[in-house]
Amino acid sequence: MHGGEIIPTSTLWLIPALPFAGFLLAIIFGNARRLVTLAAPAAVGVAFAVALAAVLTLLRAPAGARLVDDVYPWIVAGPFRADVAFRIDALSAVMVLIVTGVGFLIHVYSVGYMAHDESLPRFFAYLNLFMFAMLLLVLADNLVVLFVGWEGVGLCSYLLIGFWYEKDENAAAGKKAFVVNRIGDMGFVLGLLLLAWSTAANGALSLDIAHVEEHVHALAPATATAVALLLLVGAAGKSAQLPLYVWLPDAMAGPTPVSALIHAATMVTAGIYMIARLHVVFVASPFALEVVAIVGAATALFAATIALVQTDVKKVLAYSTVSQLGFMVLALGVGAFASAIFHVMTHAFFKALLFLGAGSVIHGMSGEQDVSQMGGLRQKMPVTWWTFLVGTLAIAGAPGFAGFFSKDEILAHAWGTGHYALWAVGAFTAALTAFYMFRLLFLTFFGELRAAPEVAHHVHESPPVMTVPLVILAALSIVGGWVGLPEGWLWGPAFGRFLAPVTGHPDLGEHGAGVETALMLVTTLLAVGGATLAYVFYVRMPGLPQILAWRLKPAYELLVGKYWIDEFYDALVVRPYVALSNFLWRIVDQTMIDGAVNGVATAVVVNGQLWRYVQDGNVQHYALVFLGGAIALVSYCLVR
């Protein structure tokens, strides 16, 4: 998979540089709103163009080739060297197009969505900065640079979640996101260190991707497993997998475009990308791969169940995102790296669409996010409704839609590699997904509007600047999946073939295409079932859910309480740590250590105070001491 032709270029640096320029512009000319609102999306748009151009060059090149732009030597210390270098191979090509493309649409959308926010320039500054970091991440030819992007996106997510900083919970959510990500990063860094030292060869320590791929054979099995698992921790942090997913739902505190861009389409897929990027390491450790698969499946199911009962639009979408990311990780775990990336792409389309749609709804409902306050928006916001429907169908896996192909490819691989249990989990999750997504759809757009009248009467469709991106994304959500048809259909898995030079050809074992089709049928039926159930619950007999909830109270509580994971962590980690810190400060630091230090000093002074009273002013007492001393000296001389 390494080797391949290297096409040196000197334009790739432009791709991240453009958004960065936009960022600088935004912070420097902070008060020129018009300029910023034009420049920020433009920067990303141009970046997209450049990226496209680069990708076209790549396509013309023989398979397995890669564009490399070695900008400058960054960290060079002794045997360690890390250059700021960018690469575009099939994998990063896909990612860069997703990021810039979807990113561009969301920028445009934001122009409308944030129009009334007084700190819009700051918003676009952050957004551009994010694009910069994200592009750094996907284009990096060196894992250290990748890590820079990795942390950079974390920073931006921190800033954007806490964008409306006046509200404490937003700031808290931002902090939570960053810290939890840092936990992942610790694993990531350790993984990188171990990797670097284990692939060290002829006196060079390097984290160049090429170098790693070249020397990965040097990894002892145990080492490989260790590296892989550490990297998995990192991925779990970024891509919100168990047990580190907790930050993502809170991250919804940020403006909706942010949720769409960062917490759905791009950043959260960084973990997936990273594992795909380093799949050679994982391949070297079957055990690690198993773990990855299980984590993915578990996450998918776990998050889906929570999504069933959420009433906040964005929360539902957030948990669905977690769940979908689970699918991707599952794909990685079963070795279907291409499929994972495929799902990354489709998911980017329809999840961005859904979020933006939700944003449009919230925008129209003047900030309301609770579905219990919505309903019957079908007529009031037609465009939103239609596009949202498309999105729902796509995620639910309606045949022909994007999600359909990507999801089923994943499940097929799960089955194909003999992970039948995981396949079952995946399939069931698919059903759940259909259910909760349609639940959301019905609650939002069907029935009567349940909002307060004053809200109700200026519910309105969003302006074109917002709806156009919706439409485009809708289109993508439909056709986006057609690049990766099952084996044997028309052009088959073109996408997979394109990625193959990078991610390798996953083997579907002895089962052929027929099996895949069969599986598709099953999952489709499950999805339909889920959708129908939702229709029954929320359109036919709306009373039913309450009854059910009342019947299965414990289960319902558990789900509404999100399994009380946050509380659990709080009690298990946060509070003890704070308590420990206080103990260390008050007891260890101030009482013990400082006490000892000051104690010595005090002891000396006190002695001084004590002994000075020997000097009682009586000259004859002095003489006695004198005599004593004399006797002592004399007797010493006599005894020796």
Partner: protein, 100 residues
């Protein structure tokens, strides 16, 4: 002939007695006397050694010791008088303004 050691021992005893006097007497003048006693004890030592060594030096030294003793006595007594003018007492243990 009495061995020199005996004289020396005798002088040691006298010296010690003088020292004790310095310590235990309350009246400063008497304390001075005790000091004189110590000096005389030392003189005895010198003379004894001079005899033992058959040299005259020891005796000459005694002469100097006497002079010093005289000088000290004069000064010491002068000090007592000066102090007595300010505070009519010659009790050693009442000299305790300066302490601690």
């Amino acid at each position: 002939m009495v061995p020199t050691s005996w004289y020396l021992a005798l002088s040691a005893v006298l010296f010690a007695i003088g020292a004790i006097g310095v310590l235990v007497r309350r009246n400063i003048i008497v304390v001075f006397m005790a000091i004189e006693l110590m000096l005389n004890a030392v003189n005895l030592t010198f003379v004894a050694f001079a005899r033992q060594l058959g040299t005259i030096d020891g005796q000459v030294i005694v002469f100097f010791v006497m002079t010093v003793a005289a000088a000290e006595a004069a000064v010491g007594l002068a000090i007592i008088i000066a102090a007595f003018r300010n505070r009519p007492t010659v009790n050693a243990d009442e000299l305790a303004v300066l302490r601690w």
